[in-house]
Symmetry: C2
Subunit: 455 residues, 2 copies
């Protein structure tokens, strides 16, 4: 415990900050470790640059104690996957990690790992910043041929945003469509919503994890205060659980040896440090992580794209006209914020200082690139009909849960046959699954059972 405290302790933000910060707090509940240095502020709820307005990533890596991804790691990934590394790697968007080399060592020996990422469904549509981990996951999944689990923390958003359970679930379902539209190999992808999936071995892992974090530690890490609801205190284990393969018995059986790699933005590191600290205490392996820089707001490098600030973000639902307007109007080009400022201080020439392009040209090219990207995303999403989304493993799982046990029992009973016989003695007592009466169904494999409710 002392170890956890030492490892993750960080100046706490108050939970009040969290709720005030609105959408900056994507998956807000789930991590912290505030780092304030020369005005540089990095928390899962707020990100702003230092004195020069920029994030000092070297400093972050040093403070958090994680490793940088150097060229040798990128070369190794290219060698192992037999293909060129993703631009996010080559251009240093994903720039830091924990234990990535261990994952690569295992992979080299023929052992697979799995990817875990997530999304707190706080808005109707994703913005470009949200796409970064999903695009990167798609690359990793295709390159390494590994399973991917995606957690939709509808419970978290219900708690932090004070949304109703129903509204959180609706947003999650909408977001699932955007995520499916990223083009994952759905035969290797398991998307799940907490409100539907929590239970069984997943819940058992939540309790195991919750027995390793004290209330004081949670307050230190997540900044909870006494006026916060206990539901917040209960959440961190929910987000930690997918880091362990035993939380997915239908995917991995009871294997404990499959390692997990978590792609995320670096502000989540304190959270996963906590998870890594808990892992050996419950006899499970630490998840490895790979961290990205923040996706900048249109206004520039000193913040991150924020769904609650329309001016800062391009959404996957934006029209070409909206994209054009936002970029021309809000995108940082080095010019002064106002005409007065521009007249007074002149332009920041770092951005296009090499002189090869003019501001207008840069913006024009950006509009082209983003319009194409968003257009493709919209086309792909249009194909994700309600029905298709329902057919994804994620939602199938959800439906299976919400199907009353009743129907499941009736179907199981009807299916009583050779394959079924082996489990039948355990599962089917010959009673109706709803009323538990001993009245038997009308014969084996009959489509109808005696009770009207069974139909």
């Amino acid at each position: 415990m002392a170890e956890v405290a030492a490892d993750v302790a960080a100046p706490a933000t108050t939970a009040a900050d969290v709720s005030q910060n609105g959408d900056g707090a994507e998956r807000a509940a789930t991590s912290a470790g505030d780092t304030v240095t020369s005005a540089q502020l990095v928390t899962p709820w707020e990100v702003s640059g230092g004195a020069d307005g920029k994030i000092d990533y070297d400093r972050l890596v040093e403070q958090f104690g994680c490793q940088k991804i150097d060229q040798s790691v990128i070369d190794r990934i290219e060698r192992l996957t037999g293909q060129r590394a993703h631009p996010f790697l080559r251009r240093g968007v994903f720039f830091s990690h924990r234990d990535l080399n261990e994952i690569l060592n295992l992979y080299e020996k023929g052992k697979k790992f799995y990817l875990y990422t997530g999304r707190g469904p706080s808005s109707e549509a994703l913005h470009l910043g949200h796409l970064v981990p999903f695009y990167f996951c798609k690359y990793l999944q295709d390159a390494f041929k590994v399973p991917l689990v995606i957690q939709m923390t509808d419970d978290e958003k219900c708690i932090w945003r004070n949304l109703s359970v129903e509204e959180s679930r609706r947003l999650a379902r909408e977001n699932v469509k955007d995520i499916i539209a990223c083009g994952f190999d759905m035969s290797r992808t398991f998307i799940f919503c907490d409100f539907d999936y929590v239970g069984g071995e997943f819940y058992r892992n939540m309790v195991r994890i919750g027995k390793c974090i004290t209330i004081n530690q949670a307050r230190g890490i997540f900044g909870f205060i006494g006026e916060d609801y206990v539901a917040k205190m209960a959440f961190p284990p929910v987000q930690a659980a997918p880091s362990f393969p035993t939380s997915f018995p239908h995917l991995f059986g009871n294997r404990k040896d499959i390692r997990c790699l978590i792609p995320s933005a670096i502000d989540q590191d304190p959270y996963f440090r906590m998870t890594r600290d808990v892992a050996p205490r419950i006899g499970l392996q630490k998840p490895a992580t790979i961290y990205s820089r923040f996706f900048p707001a249109l206004q520039g490098e000193s913040g991150k794209m924020n769904a609650s600030d329309q001016r800062s973000a391009i959404f996957v639902t934006d029209t070409p006209k909206e994209i054009k307007t936002k970029i021309n109007k809000y995108a940082f080009s080095g010019g002064g914020a106002t005409i007065e400022e521009h007249r007074k201080f002149g332009a920041n020439l770092d951005e296009y200082g090499a002189g090869r392009m003019l501001t207008g040209e840069v913006k024009k090219r950006l509009i082209e690139v983003l319009t194409a990207l968003v257009g493709n995303q919209q086309k792909a999403r249009a194909k994700v009909t309600d029905e298709a989304a329902l057919q994804s493993p994620a939602v199938r799982n959800e439906i299976s849960r919400s199907l009353s046990l009743h129907k499941v029992y009736c179907a199981l009973y009807r299916a009583k046959s050779s394959a079924w016989a082996r489990t039948a003695t355990l599962t089917c007592s010959g009673r109706c699954g709803v009323c538990y009466s001993r009245q038997r169904h009308r014969g084996l494999l009959s489509a109808l059972c005696v009770h009207r409710t069974c139909q």
Copy 2:
């Protein structure tokens, strides 16, 4: 929130007390509201009498603000059920309540309610004190013909007693057999273990409840301290959830109008006061309660029977010889605790002061009664084979959960037929439930599917 605080605030015991108090803390996590008056101490973790060594129940009722059960209520119950009231009612073992009259009003109008009780599986076998709520529930179930849900809080015991998940689940399963042996109408009884049942609408209710209790309130009610694990803070909503019918969609659909009546010992009142306070805030009905006195330790009225103190308790596993020895050796008869004390102070004659019986005769009769009761319990339990326990709805549910989704999907798919067709478009995508590949099963209603794993 202020309301909750005002309603349930009580001098907090430290959670350290809880873990130290061992077995006195049946379902320890779940309630509090310590009441110390003239040395009388009543918490869910500790019960001891006042200056005269006895519990002042009138005082408790007044402090907790619940109602006493008077003769008119008992008469009414007899009139409504058409049978003589249970001795526990007639003799004042169950002596207090909240909103019991509302339940009876509804019943009179032909509206059913359901019963909820629970057990924290902390020991291999139940003792006589544990049987009280179950025997009383059996009477209520038979008399009113109502459903009964029994929550096995294996998660709670795993957290508080530092048991492994596996050991807690094993104890829960053993205890389920003792509970089934009480002779419930299993067609109306749903026994579930948290580690298996938490999920779906139950979990959604947990989150709804957890959004109504602040960390400060939980500390006030349950005495949590900073060194406690977050898993403790997460537990109260787990025990509150069964108070609401929507936590059991397979029993009650999505009906919110079915009231819940909770039989328990009065030390649980502060807990259910909290639940009652939360109910209207999440649009659900308050549970009604009916409270018993404490089952005394063999040593006398000043404490309650305690599974961790072998001398204080008769277990359902005790042999006739053990029962005889315990009663003759430990049972309070009014005599002095030691020969010296007896010589010095003489006997307390209240107990058999009427002079109709001698101590030895009272004990002899008690041995007869308890030997028969325990013998019957043992005979009934012997009939609850592993298989029978597995066929109880409780464990059927558990098995259905631990059946991989895979088998369920395969069975559902095989059962694709008229009744099934209506849900088939939602549930069955024609992919294998395990590997999510598109490979279809070998034809409708076939006993075998293509994938070996399906079998």
